[in-house]
């Protein structure tokens, strides 16, 4: 599904990812954990195709295609979804109109008929139920005036509608209280499937209590320095990132 090899990337001439490699197979959920500044968000934006990031080395294959050669919207249509850490507000545009445009762009790419207003509404209501979101919220302008929890839930709603092959969840837990976190995680879990891979990027182990990953990777200074099962997250929580840093320094683990 996703194969990252020796990826080096940065912004404004500053290298942030310094040779990152990762293999994600269909249906797998990988957690990427790391301290602030380790390159977590850079990874998500480089994969999603945000302007302003320079890839200086390495390659990324998605579904056998060269991901880095595609524009952001092409990647999205091909099935890469990024749940934003800070979802953007688009005043004046209703969530429904926005999502219909997105769903139809993706459907068109997949060779499916575009949905008309009625069919879209049906699909929309179905997905609303799945992520436990009230319809009133969905009729509001995209993310405008949404609380932190509502914004994150809206991201999951979009993911449900767009049905991606790869979902990248960028610090989806940030700014959420425990109830909101649980509700967002329930939505994500409902979307787990053998065809869909997920990359869960987080600073804290807390989220992984709810979205239980198959693999955990520790990102430090632009490289994955340790990989393991879900218990690695618990170890990190207990001993902290400094412990890993020390290990890296002593050469006990390697990139």
């Amino acid at each position: 599904m996703l194969s990252i090899r020796n990826l080096q990337a940065g912004v404004d001439g500053k290298t942030i990812l310094k040779g990152l490699s990762l293999e994600v197979k269909p249906g797998e959920v990988h957690a990427i954990m790391g301290p602030n500044g380790s390159g977590k968000s850079t990874l998500s934006h480089v994969l999603a195709g945000r302007d302003g990031y320079d890839v200086t080395g390495g390659e990324v294959a998605f579904d056998g295609k060269d991901l880095l050669g595609m524009d952001a919207d092409e990647r999205a249509r091909a099935g890469v979804f990024l749940a934003f850490q800070y979802p953007v507000e688009i005043p004046g545009v209703s969530n429904k109109v926005f999502l219909k445009a997105a769903v139809n762009a993706v459907r068109k790419h997949r060779g499916l008929d575009e949905l008309d207003a009625m069919d879209f509404l049906k699909l929309f209501r179905e997905k609303l139920k799945l992520v436990g979101m009230p319809e009133a919220l969905a009729n509001r302008e995209v993310n405008a005036g949404f609380s932190g929890g509502e914004k994150k839930r809206n991201e999951i709603l979009q993911m449900a509608l767009l049905d991606p092959k790869l979902a990248i969840l960028d610090e989806t837990d940030s700014g959420l209280d425990i109830d909101a976190l649980r509700s967002v995680a329930d939505g994500v879990n409902a979307l787990r499937s053998p065809e869909r891979s997920m990359l869960v990027i987080t600073h804290y182990q807390r989220l992984l209590d709810y979205i239980v990953p198959d693999f955990v990777h520790v990102l430090v200074d632009g490289r994955i320095v340790r990989s393991g099962g879900k218990e690695l997250a618990l170890e990190l929580e207990e001993r902290g990132y400094d412990f890993i840093r020390e290990q890296v320094k002593r050469g006990q683990v390697g990139a």
Partner: protein, 481 residues
């Protein structure tokens, strides 16, 4: 993949899709203005003596005026002696049905996507098509006539209803009003006339499509709409023009008169050739539009979507004379490439309990320049007058400009005025967010811009709203990738 600067440059590379020229022999006056030429126009149109005199009076006054310079627009001086003031297709327009219309002409309309026949049959819209300076087809006339509604070319109204024309022509925009209005009064060649009798609700949207064609022909339309007591009318005006190198002057005058309890809704979608990416060519749209709410509880509502023209100088206004009368102005104006728009409205409150609403949405892209200029004036006798003004600007890219120039003059302490203004930008973050959802940059810009304008689009008649949204998307296509 693109920064905002690049996206603006891309936007500028886009061509104008409605650029084509219809070849029809024209019967035209040599360029230039003179009393003789004005007499020629008047004679050509078989006008009564008083009309000729009115034109000459306006012409003599115009000679004493100079062009206004207060608007935020720059352009090379216009040589008014270079302009052709009269041109008419040689195929004469006394036609009973569309079958008799020059097929070349019909093809032109089809290219524009406004086949008259289809409009007539499907939309139930009566179309008075203005091609260059002479009307070629007027439809649904009989149906309207049975209700006592007069909807015809102004020149025809001069023959059939001279007393109405004489009473109201120049009563809202006098020939002394401004430079361009004076010129129009002297040389106007065509336009529409509408009269809705007492208590009649016009059963269909009245529509005129204007199209400027012959090179160097300035078009001087004059429209006069009178809604008698208790009547109601909705008038649609839409236009697009073929590509031209020379700047084409368009100085129209529109006058609306609403008597007691009458309502006039006037909607415009304007898509004239805006010039190329360097600002070469394009229409100069210097228009005077004004409505007089003469009667009690009368209402005049202007809605405009202005996406075309190199320069727009336009302030559809309302004079609220009747007690309890209402004026509205809803506007979307787009300036792309080198387009300049100085547009807004005037709401003059004279009667008691008069109300006005102004909603202006300005969009600047490329090196476009956009000025909202609005005046709200509350006179001494206008007790309990109310105005709400909202003007929002949206910037796309970093080479464009938007200004807001509101003038407020209040001479009555009971007045209540509200003014809201905002300026926002289509941000890289918004575009990235949309693109990450699979929406192309172009569609994203269109989505955001249409969202920004929806308060105004809501005011447009349904079929026009769809057209306007498409037009806006089209005008911004290529904007960003």
């Amino acid at each position: 993949m693109t920064s905002s600067t690049e996206m603006v440059l891309d936007l500028e590379r886009r061509g104008y899709t409605a650029g084509f020229v219809t070849d029809i022999e024209t019967d035209e006056l040599p360029p230039g203005h003179s009393e003789d030429n004005i007499r020629f126009i008047s004679a050509k149109k078989g006008e009564p003596e008083w009309m000729t005199e009115y034109r000459l009076k306006a012409y003599r006054h115009w000679l004493t005026l100079s062009e206004p310079t207060w608007a935020h627009v720059d352009f090379e001086p216009i040589d008014y002696q270079e302009i052709v003031y009269y041109s008419a297709p040689k195929v004469k327009p006394k036609l009973k049905s569309l079958d008799e219309v020059d097929p070349e002409l019909l093809r032109t309309y089809e290219k524009l996507g406004i086949p008259l026949r289809e409009q007539e049959m499907l939309a139930g819209v009566a179309v008075d098509a203005v091609f260059d300076s002479v009307s070629v087809a007027t439809t649904f006339k009989d149906k309207l006539a049975r209700m006592g509604i007069i909807f015809c070319p102004l020149s025809e109204a001069l023959e059939t209803h001279p007393e109405l024309v004489k009473q109201y022509l120049g009563s809202v925009v006098p020939h002394t009003d401004n430079f361009y209005a004076a010129l129009n009064a002297a040389v106007f060649t065509e336009g529409s006339f509408v009269y809705i009798p007492k208590g009649v609700r016009c059963p269909m949207e009245l529509s005129t499509y204007f199209r400027i064609n012959a090179a160097k022909t300035g078009q001087f339309e004059r429209t006069l709409i009178i809604a008698d007591e208790g009547s109601h009318v909705s008038y649609l005006e839409g236009c697009t023009a073929p590509m031209r190198d020379e700047n084409q002057l368009h100085a129209a005058v529109v006058e609306l008169v609403a008597l007691d309890n009458a309502t006039i809704k006037y909607s415009t979608v304007q898509n004239w050739y805006p010039g190329d990416k360097d600002g070469k060519g394009g229409i100069y749209n210097f228009v005077t539009k004004r409505g007089k709410c003469a009667g009690r509880n009368s209402k005049i509502s202007w809605t405009q979507v202005e996406t075309g023209s190199a320069i727009t100088w336009k302030y559809p206004s309302c004079i609220l004379i009747g007690d309890g009368s209402v004026g509205e102005f809803y506007s979307v104006a787009l300036s792309n490439n080198c387009q300049q728009a100085d547009t807004g409205t005037k709401m003059i409150h004279i009667g008691k309990d008069t109300r006005s609403t102004i909603v202006s949405k300005g969009i600047s892209a490329g090196r476009g320049r956009q000025t909202y200029r609005g005046q709200v004036k509350i006179l001494k006798g206008a007790d309990n007058a109310r105005n709400h003004t909202q003007c929002d600007s949206l910037l796309i890219g970093d080479q464009c400009r938007a200004d807001t120039v509101p003038y407020v003059e209040v001479r009555n302490a009971t007045a209540q005025l509200e003014h809201e203004a905002s300026t926002s930008k289509v941000s890289e973050d918004q575009l990235y967010y949309c693109r990450q959802r699979g929406i192309s940059t172009e569609d994203a810009v269109s989505l955001i811009v249409n969202g920004f304008c929806k308060e105004v689009f809501r005011e447009l008649p349904m079929e026009f709203a769809v057209e306007a949204q498409k037009l806006l998307g089209l005008s911004l296509e290529g904007a960003v990738g």
